[in-house]
Amino acid sequence: MQIDAFRSLDFDARLEREAMEQIADGIAALFDIEAPRERIGLIVASDNAGTATSVQFWLDAMRIGVAVASPELFPWCLANAPCGALARRFRVTGPNATLLGESDALLAALDTAAGQVTQRQVDNAVVVALCFANGHAGGKALALRVCADNGRHSLDLGALRTLVDPVPLRAGIDVLCGQLNRC
């Protein structure tokens, strides 16, 4: 598969809503393309999207009372909220998906993106791997833009699969970054 741009970053915000502001700023360049927005696909692969906010939301609800709890955080309890936020920020209206898991989810996201591009459902697809901060480690993100041809980097998904499946997503991100930086 062909990759024509990628960005990686670490971030420290604890909750998904704040983290996405940092992440979106860090990967904005990948969306700076002249392309019809409905022809850009967006897929997030994450190990824990939604977890931190879900716990916080319920904690607050228990404290305040379920009848008068604040709804503000609720949309961010859903694992697909980060992908929706990116779509809004960059006005991307093509196919939008969120896969949960470890490196298997990242591989599946890349595979899906490649398929969407090959089958001309989209012209480009951006895959974003997200590991939100979890109390033991900070947040980590890697975004790649998949294109039809003439990419700067070429990824062999089969070879990648043997390297990263079944490692945790954090480790998978590191391996993939290493591969891309060597291209």
Partner: protein, 85 residues
């Protein structure tokens, strides 16, 4: 506490929460400020504001009453009316 003080306290509280929900709002919002037309509040902002009002004043605002929360003025009116009840 007299009525003027209470209304002033409520105005301060609601204004404070509006700015907490939308940090980009300017200070010194006029009481006539309309949430949607003037402040660009959306549905999510509004339900969050009402939730904070419920928490602060011990109210339970029914879904049907949400449509009354159109401006700072109208919000003050609602709170004062329902506290008195």
């Amino acid at each position: 506490m007299n009525a003027t003080t209470m209304t002033g306290d409520i105005l301060d509280f609601v204004t404070g929460e509006l700015c907490a929900i939308r940090p980009s709002l300017p200070a010194g919002l006029p009481p006539t400020a309309r949430y949607t037309a003037d402040l660009n509040f959306d549905s999510l902002d509004l339900v969050e504001l009402v939730a904070r009002i419920e928490q602060r004043y011990g109210l339970k605002v029914p879904d049907a009453d949400l449509q009354q929360f159109v401006s700072l003025d109208a919000t003050l009116q609602y709170i004062v009316t329902h506290i008195e009840r």
